[in-house]
Amino acid sequence: MGHLLKGSVMAVQIRELLGNHKIIPVPVDGIGDMDDLYDLGMTSFASVQLMLALEEAFDIEFPERMLNRKTFQSIASIDRSVSELVAGRA
């Protein structure tokens, strides 16, 4: 299990998206921010659905350099990428 860092507002929103879009086959409440989402059963296609859901929710577009496995690996890594894109948009 990863560390349970449920502090950031962004992480809370990401967690909500994970649950609402059924991205992983386990309840999102028990997931730590550092846990590997792929290990928890997120398929390659589910990661695409997650990407599209994040883009819609945060009004961002992931650039090509971010379209890789690592970006979507954990709530923390998603938080980092989304925060960067949201900051760049402002």
Binding site: T43, S44, F45, S47, V48, Q49, M51, L52, F62, E64, L67, N68, R69, F72
Partner: protein, 318 residues
């Protein structure tokens, strides 16, 4: 692992690989392929078919040695199985579905009128229960799942099917209808990766015995859209797909003639293929693009197989 394939030294020496005239035109002129008026849909000459037949006997020798069960599926499969397979999530742009007229006499009149006017007549067509088979192994998995648990020793199949992919092209190596010979292994992760390793060794050996220059490279499937880029990177990062590339249209952009794919438990989970111990089955396949291999041979050795190098003829014709 994003290394570029090393240079094709053997190909650089082969004068036939880079000529001014498009390869497709040469094939038409030599009567190897027969044009239909639609890119990617061609007739095949007797010589072309014979080369494919002979190549398949080489593959079959290995398949028999392994004890693979031979099944040939038709070029169509149940629509519900494509829907369930997830093919439309990944490759909506390549899929083909079979539609047919199901109307009454009035509808028939309208259909005829629309065609006479050169208007769009697709509104008179309705989807049938069939779609076109996109890969030789797609019809296999539901069949295996229906037969019950996968035995401890695993399962091996030797498949063949005409396949359809909607990607019209002037490159003869990218046909809309083509044949895929496939060997598929279903079992534990160890069994199927060992199967893939075995074919990763056999494939280059087989092509080199036919004097075809080839290199192995990590590859990805042509997933649709921006999300597809993410899926492609995932696939490459995990080295789930390898291709054996042969220069056919050009040395710079060699053609994938064989592919070696590890599906992990993707199809096992999707179709409920379970092993006797209750775990989800893993699967892997090796696919031979039969037209591509034949085209590589015609490109490398000339339009008349009778004049091909003796060593190559001996491997194919014995």
């Amino acid at each position: 692992m994003n290394a570029r394939p090393p240079a094709f030294q053997a190909a650089a020496e082969a004068p036939s690989v880079s000529t001014a005239k498009p390869f497709l035109d040469e094939l038409f002129e030599d009567g190897v392929l027969i044009p239909s008026g639609v890119d990617g849909l061609y007739g095949r000459s007797g010589a072309f078919e014979e080369v494919i037949d002979r190549f398949e006997t080489l593959v079959e020798r290995f398949s028999k040695e392994d004890g693979a069960v031979k099944i040939h599926f038709p070029p169509a499969m149940p629509r519900v199985n494509m829907e369930k397979s997830g093919y439309l999530k990944s490759f909506p742009q390549l899929a083909g579905s079979v539609h047919s007229f199901m109307g009454n006499d009035m509808d028939h009149c309208r259909l005829i009128a629309a065609i006479a006017e050169g208007a769009d007549w697709s509104e008179f067509q309705k989807p049938t229960d069939l779609v076109l088979t996109p890969a030789a192994c797609y019809p296999l998995y539901p069949t295996v799942a229906a037969k019950g648990a996968v035995p401890a020793e695993g399962l091996l199949f030797d498949l063949k099917s005409y396949c359809f992919r909607h990607e019209p092209s002037k490159e003869p190596t990218r046909m809309q209808f083509f044949r895929m010979r496939e060997n598929v292994c279903i079992g534990t992760a160890e069994q199927v990766t060992e199967f893939r390793e075995r074919w990763l060794a056999r494939g280059p050996e087989l092509l080199r015995s036919l004097d075809l220059p080839c290199v192995l490279d990590v590859a990805n499937d042509p997933f649709f859209g921006r999300g597809g880029k993410l899926m492609a990177r995932n696939q490459r990062d995990q080295q789930l797909k390898f291709e054996l590339l042969v220069p056919v249209n050009s040395v710079e952009n060699p053609t994938a003639c064989l592919s070696f794919n590890y599906h992990q438990d993707h199809f096992g989970t999707l179709w409920g293929m379970t092993r006797e111990d209750g775990e989800k089955a893993h699967s892997a396949c090796v696919g031979f693009g039969l037209e591509r291999i034949a085209l590589a041979l015609f490109r490398q050795h000339g339009s008349d197989p009778a004049t091909w190098p003796e060593a190559v003829r001996k491997v194919l014709w014995g």
